[in-house]
Structure formats: C-alpha cells, structure tokens
Amino acid sequence: MVERHPLLKTTTLILLVVGLVFALGPIYLALCSASVTSRQILVHGLALLPGSHLWENLRIVMRDARIGTMLFNSCVVSLIVVTGKLALASTSAFAVVYFRSRIRHVVFWGTFVTLLLPLEVRIVPTYAVASDLFEPLRRLIAAVTGLHLSVSINLLDSYAGLSLPLMASATGTFLFRQFYLTVPTELSEAARMDGAGPIRFFIDILLPLSKANFAALGTIVFLGTWKDYMWPLVATSRPDMRTISLGIATFLPTETGQPPEWNLVMAAALIALAPPLFVMGLTQRWFVRGVTGIGK
C-alpha cells in the first residue's frame, strides 16, 4: 500500500468483511440450519445462529444410504475425469506443440472447436449418442457393406457414461499447450541432438517439468466435474448412479413424500460441499495458478 491512511484502511477493511459475509453467508446459513432441530425451523424459521444438533443431523443424513452412494459416485466420476483428462490433455498437447507433422494441425483444430460449443448446448443429441454409442459405427458398416448389425452400447447410468462426455473438451489441451510453449526450446533441441526420441523426451524431461501444471489442471477439472449438474441429471435415472451435486436436489421434500426436514436438507448440502471445499483448501495455490494460467 502506497500511503498509510487509517480511515481508508478501516473503510476498505470493513468493505472486505462485508464481501466475506456475502461470500460465506450461504455456507454459514447452511451450517446454522443444519445444527438445529427440524421443529425449531418449522416454528422459528431458519436459524441464524449455530445450534447444538449438528453432529446428530449429520449422523442421520450419513446413515441414509443414498448419500454415501452419491459421494462415492462423485468421487469415482471426478477421479476418472481428472485422470482421463490429464492423460489426454498432456499427450495431445504434446502432439500439437512438439511435432512438425501436419497432424498437429488436425489435432489442434479438431480439439479447439469444442471450446465453442459447451456440452449444455448440445445436451439432447449427446444424450442420444450416449444411449447408443455404436450408432455411427453401425451406420458406417451399413452404408459400406449393407450389413445391419444389432450391436449397441448404452452408457446411460454407468460411470463411463457419466465421465466420458465430460472429457471431450479442449480446456486441458489448451492449458498444456500454453505451458509447453513456455518450456525453453533448448530442451527439446538438446534432446533431439542426443538422439532421444519424442517419447523419451516426453517422459524424462517434459513430464517432470509439468508437475505443477498437472496439479493445477487436476484441481480445476476435479472441481468442475464435482459441481456438474446437468449431465448427471440427464445421463442417470437410477438413484444409485446419482452424483452428490445432482442428488442434493432429491433431498428437497417433494420427491420423498415425507414432511420436510430442512435441517437434514441443509446437513446434506454441507456434506455435499465439504469434499470440494477440502480439495480447494488443500490445493488452492495450484488452483489459483491454473486459473491465472487460463487467463494469460
């Protein structure tokens, strides 16, 4: 800070605190309401101060088998998408940056276009594709050979169906491309001079350099997948395949046919937001680096 003006400092500090109250307000509200009895909410409205029933409510919600399954599904899907996307992004960006072949343009532009049309926009046909993965192949075979096969794969209500479409995007490739472009070219020149092949160079030199990049992209992708709502909503209908971000809506009373227990709804919301908050707290440094990396 350039000058030291006590009044200025106090004013800005107060404004920051107000900002913080808004930023954490919803979480705080959930925490308070999750720590009282449902009776208290029905009589006095949502709690604005923490009560003493938090553990009890959390225990009741955790005992509900649904939430365990949902948490598990979210973890599985997020981890699959993170590993898949990191693997695909690091290798395809390598192909784009480190080769002379025209193929790199094909890979680059073929991937780049996906930035333009998010999954949410093409949700209806993507659903149709996921329900019948082999349709293009069947059509091709039918067109070429005239054979009408009856092979089909339905990815709905499966982990593959939940994760694969989320991997088909360009953000990761882009982030890695940006990063590879900042790696000194002397490294690959030296590697080529030593007669090392591209795979050697990739594994021995590039990957160790990319550790922070992996962490950054990994965090962003993990949070993005965990928070995703629309794709799980359409791609699953079996309750045991729901992810937590989707399943949280089922804790609203209409679907259960039970009198509403808002304290338990809020406790479920807390459980739903705990893992990503935890990941965020652990990896914030990398996460910030990733976001500013996208912004460059």
């Binding site: 800070m1 350039v2 200025l8 400092k9 800005t12 500090l13 920051l16 900002g19 913080l20 930023a23 954490l24 919803p26 979480i27 509200l29 959930a30 409205g45 395809s92 192909a95 784009v96 080769f99 002379r100 072949s101 193929i103 890979v107 049309l117 998010p118 949410e120 926009v121 209806v124 046909p125 659903y127 149709a128 594709v129 996921a130 993965l133 694969l164 991997m167 088909a168 490739t173 002397e186 080529r192 795979i199 160079f201 928070k227 709502y229 629309m230 359409v234 971000s245 949280i248 809506a249 709804v265 937001l273 990503p276 908050l277 965020m280 707290g281 996460f287 910030v288 976001v291 912004g295």
Partner: protein, 295 residues
C-alpha cells in the same frame, strides 16, 4: 517454436492425439451433426418417421413469442449476472490490493465459493429465500406480501442473478488479483506522489491495465451464463414463475427432454451455438489483436 525443436514423424503425433480426437468425435462432432440433422427435420421421438422441412423449425422458433421471451430472459440474466460478478470481483480485488500485506486471509477465503456447486447453492438459497421459513420472510412482516420470489418474476430473476454472480465471483477475483499484483508498484507510488488518491489511481492506472483480463473474464462469464446457469435455474425456479427465469439453455432442456420435441429443441441448440460461437469469436479476435500488439 523453431522447427529444430520439433520432432519428425507422423505416427507418434497421430497416436498421441487420436484418443482425444476419437472421444471428441463421439461426444462432440457426432451429437452436433445429429442436432443439425434433427433441426432440419420433423422427427418422431421413436424414430419411425422424419420429414425434411428445411429451415422450417428455425422459422417456427423465430416466429414464436416464447423464443423471444427466452432470448430476452437470457440477455437480461447475462447482462445483470455478468456485470454484477465482474463489478463485485473487481471491487474486492482492488480492496485486497490495498491491503497487500494483510489481505492474505481474504484472498484465501473469498475463493472458497468456487468449490460450491450451483445445485448445492440453489438448494441452500431456495430454502433461505422461502417466504415461510427463510430470513427474507421477515420482510413480509414489515410489508405483507412483499417477498414472494416464486410468484414475482422480478424477484425470482434477482434471486438467480445473485446466485449466478456468487458462483462466478471467485474465478474473476483470482484473475483480477493476479493482474493487479502484476502492475509495478512504482507506477502507483509515482501517482501517489503526484497526489492521486486510491480511487483516482484505480481509475487512471489500474483499470486501463486490466482491460485484457476484464475482457477475458466477461467472455467466460457470458458463456457460463448461457450454459452453467442451468443448475441454479433448475434447483431454484424451474424457469418460472411465468417463464420469468426460463433461459434458453433451460428451454432447450424442457423442450427436448420433457416435451420430446427433438426438432424444435435442436433448432434452438443450433441457434444458441451460434450465440456462443459469436462470443468466442469476439474473444479470439481481441486476443489475436492483443497478441499482435505485444509483438
């Protein structure tokens, strides 16, 4: 990159790029093609009939008042949501920058909302906004019948805009903080010696230097307002009341999945794609220009 730094060969880059391309072909190109084909036909849901109608589906949507209503809602939502999230993030970033040494805690905590899923926020806010049990219900004891977000379109729009901004602010905040930190302190010190107060300094020095980030963040937020607003709308208002929050992405979903109207919803999809494409194009164009300026 110099060509001496690049490797030879076609097979290895192909093998490296292929898994990604196959995935994209399956889950991106094929669905997009399908949507385009559907948008040119009247198709029966079960696939037992399809009639080619050319641009008929487009002209029908373009003459339907509910399309324009959704477009207007989308525009309103985007305009308010994006400007609110940028303004608040910028403001907070500038405040934190004034407290460079002590701002660490705020920098740490203000990012947290990024980890909260739109649907979780939607559920929390839906309960919090409930006129019967939420804190805002107190407004009704002061002015009876004032707070009715599920009957009053303006209030429900305010609610989803607030929720959307809340989910976007952390991202913008991070970008702005990083950009502000990158501005050399000497610039600001020099201005301070010339007698410029923090507000002046912000307007004259910091804001102009943030232009690229502002533009970048605006584009990202805009695309998110077209697409990622879905979870908030679905958990909080389901497009209501009286389609007051029925954004285009939500209309595509309800028409296609609840109404089984593959043709109409695909035509809408293609049009929303054009919108997103335009937003991206502008960004790309500006980026290119910036890259050229930077040399």
């Amino acid at each position: 990159m110099k060509s001496s730094a690049r490797f030879h060969g076609h097979w290895i880059p192909l093998a490296l790029g292929l898994p990604q391309l196959v995935l994209i072909a399956l889950f991106f190109y094929w669905p997009t093609l399908k949507a385009f084909w559907w948008s040119l036909h009247l198709v029966c849901p079960f696939g037992n009939c399809s009639t080619f109608v050319g641009l008929g589906n487009y002209t029908r949507e373009l003459t339907d008042s509910s399309f324009y209503a959704a477009l207007r809602t989308t525009a309103l939502f985007a305009a308010f949501g994006v400007s609110l999230s940028i303004a608040v993030a910028l403001f907070l970033a500038a405040m934190v920058e004034l407290h460079r040494r002590t701002g660490g805690l705020f920098r740490y905590l203000l990012i947290w909302p990024y980890a909260v899923a739109g649907s979780v926020l939607g559920v929390i806010l839906k309960v919090a906004a409930s006129p019967s049990i939420g804190p805002l219900g107190y407004l009704n004891t002061l002015w009876p019948g004032f707070w009715q977000p599920y009957l009053n379109g303006t209030q429900s729009m305010l609610m989803v805009v607030f929720a959307f901004a809340w989910t976007q602010i952390p991202f913008n905040f991070i970008v702005f903080v990083a950009a502000l930190r990158a501005i050399p302190a000497e610039y600001l010190a020099a201005a301070a010696i010339d007698g410029a107060d923090p507000v002046r300094r912000f307007i004259d020095i910091q804001l102009p230097m943030l232009k690229p980030q502002l533009f970048f963040v605006a584009t990202i937020n805009l695309i998110e307002s077209f697409t990622n607003s879905f979870a908030i709308v679905d958990t909080m208002t389901q497009g209501g009341p009286g389609r007051a929050t029925n954004i285009l992405a939500y209309k595509i979903y309800t028409d296609g999945f609840i109404g089984l109207d593959l043709s109409g919803s695909s035509a809408l999809s293609m049009m929303l794609m054009l919108l997103v494409f335009a937003a991206c194009f502008v960004q790309f164009f500006v980026f290119e220009r910036r890259a050229r300026q930077e040399g």
